[in-house]
Subunit: 195 residues, 4 copies
């Protein structure tokens, strides 16, 4: 399996750096090859084409994150705690790797529609995680049961995503981790007064 060979990861890590530093449209295959320390042609022994590098990059980084979070939240019993953990780990992942944050929030979105559709496939796993948290919460009486679940998970994902994007666009000039409680609180309670 190519995914497990060292050069596979080597090229993906090179891609993250090159894209973060040069922007999506200035991240030529030859630059990535140079950064990875391989010849241009070698890239094509591990990836079908340039797009495949980007998809693989997203799968490796976000896909693994989703798999991991899926496991991690089993530790927590309550849905509110599971949700807190998702937000926290999501923010942590990107807070710890500014290059990756720039790539996922800004650069990769400049890709064409097909690539974005494939990226969305990866994100479906994320939405499944959110779904299961919502289910747990409703079953356990932590969440009400009269809301549109699909909308709720779009709210959760949209809010997290927008928060991170704004942070990246502001050049990480404030602490993303500090926002975890506020985001969690707003998602659960909204900003209205409880009756």
């Amino acid at each position: 399996m190519k995914r497990n060979k060292p050069k596979f990861k080597q090229i993906i890590d090179a891609a993250v750096i090159i894209i973060a530093e040069n922007g999506y449209h200035n991240a030529q295959v030859s630059k990535i090859a140079k950064q990875a320390g391989v010849a241009d042609g070698t890239i094509y022994l591990y990836f079908k084409n340039k797009e495949d590098i980007l998809i693989s990059l997203f799968q490796e980084k976000m896909g693994q994150f989703i798999e991991k979070i899926e496991e991690d939240i089993t530790e927590k019993e309550k849905a509110v705690d599971k949700l807190y953990m998702v937000i926290e780990k999501h923010f942590k992942l990107l807070s710890d790797d500014h290059h990756l944050a720039a790539v996922t929030q800004l650069e990769l979105r400049q890709s064409n529609k097909e690539l974005r559709l494939k990226i969305n496939d990866v994100l479906k796993g994320y939405l499944r995680v959110l779904d299961s948290i919502l289910e747990t919460g409703i079953a356990g009486g932590e969440f009400r049961d009269n809301f549109d679940r699909r909308l709720a998970r779009q709210m959760i994902f949209g809010t997290i995503d927008e928060t991170v994007t704004t942070w990246v666009m502001n050049e990480h000039k404030y602490d993303l981790m500090a926002l975890v409680p506020g985001v969690h609180d707003l998602l659960i309670k909204g900003f209205g007064v409880s009756s």
Copy 2:
């Protein structure tokens, strides 16, 4: 002023159609010119370059929407009603023009970073509108006053944006307008049970 000449709008409308139908990267200037019924060179009498068409497109369509919504919400007294109106009119704008929806939610995001920064300038007006609604709501006792307002407005914008994008990616196969009450409800109350 060029912005008021008929050909200015004519070219922008042509651009929306061509970009929606061909995708951002296949929307050649010559295609746009042909659709607009003008010569290639005429484009450059009204726009500095191709990027300028896209910025102007966004300014015309979203910028005007924001200006209008700013006025319209003065009709409503309560913050919850103002918010409802924003969601409703935002969804309506894009629900009524599927081409425009595809362009704003998918295609225009493929532009380079500089263009996206300019687009963000336009969106700052939107965030200001949301801010003022939140202020009104807090002042009037409709909203609680112990939440991070910047996060709240990112939640509102992120949720609306994500909801529309998902709708566009699903090829408009359900009724976007039907989601207005659900989105409004979730934003105000969250999905937690009120204590």
Copy 3:
């Protein structure tokens, strides 16, 4: 006759300034029109096309110079004095008008071959003047009669031209007029020792 209308000269003078200041390839018709204080289209009432402006420019400036010099040298009796006068007046013309010097020595040579051939027609008058001086000199015993007259006139013209071009390329940083005696002396006597 268009040549005598005020706008004809107005446009030519504008062309000299625009070409000198912007270079041949940045001297757009619209710039020349603006400098001349007329509309773009008006140019085409006086000139067949852009090339025609440049030919006319050269004809007006150098053609008139040649006609004048042809008359002026009749004042002098001796061929050496006639030659001196030619060099002197040629240098003076360009020394007095740095814009014109830049245009004739550098910018106009960037034109295409056809234009250069037409410019050469104008210069044929110059060569005729030089021919007649050589004839006079030979007849009067001032010049020897065993040299190739065509080569001699190419030497005269080539030397004058090269001297002016070098002066323009050195940004007129020395006094061109001071070189008249030296050029005259070298042309008549060469640099060999006379036997």
Copy 4:
């Protein structure tokens, strides 16, 4: 070093032919590539841009000529013989390659000012050769010592250049080599009678 690879020379030779046959402004990169038997993109592996082809062309052809002539004239002892050799070899170079003659005398002069300045750098080597010949001649008593050397070398270069250009403009319809003695004679002795 790219300059020594066969394709480098191959492309330059193709450029000479294409420019001579089509003129400077009709010498598209794709035409040159086709003539050279390489792909358009290959050109850019050897040259920075189109202008770089032209500079390199001049450097290869004239630069090498100058280096060679510098060596060759050491064979001759007398300055008059050295000068004769320069004229002869210069005429021979261009007499033997009509394409090259057309390119250096007519086409390359249509280039923009910056390119011409770089061409002038190459020609500085030529002027140095002429200087050293003049020095030798003065030191050896062959040439007088009361003339402006800068003017003299401008006379030599200007005369040679004008003679070749006239020959090219007359479509090589007479024998350039036959003019060598006449040019040499005029430069040394001028056309005046020796006192």
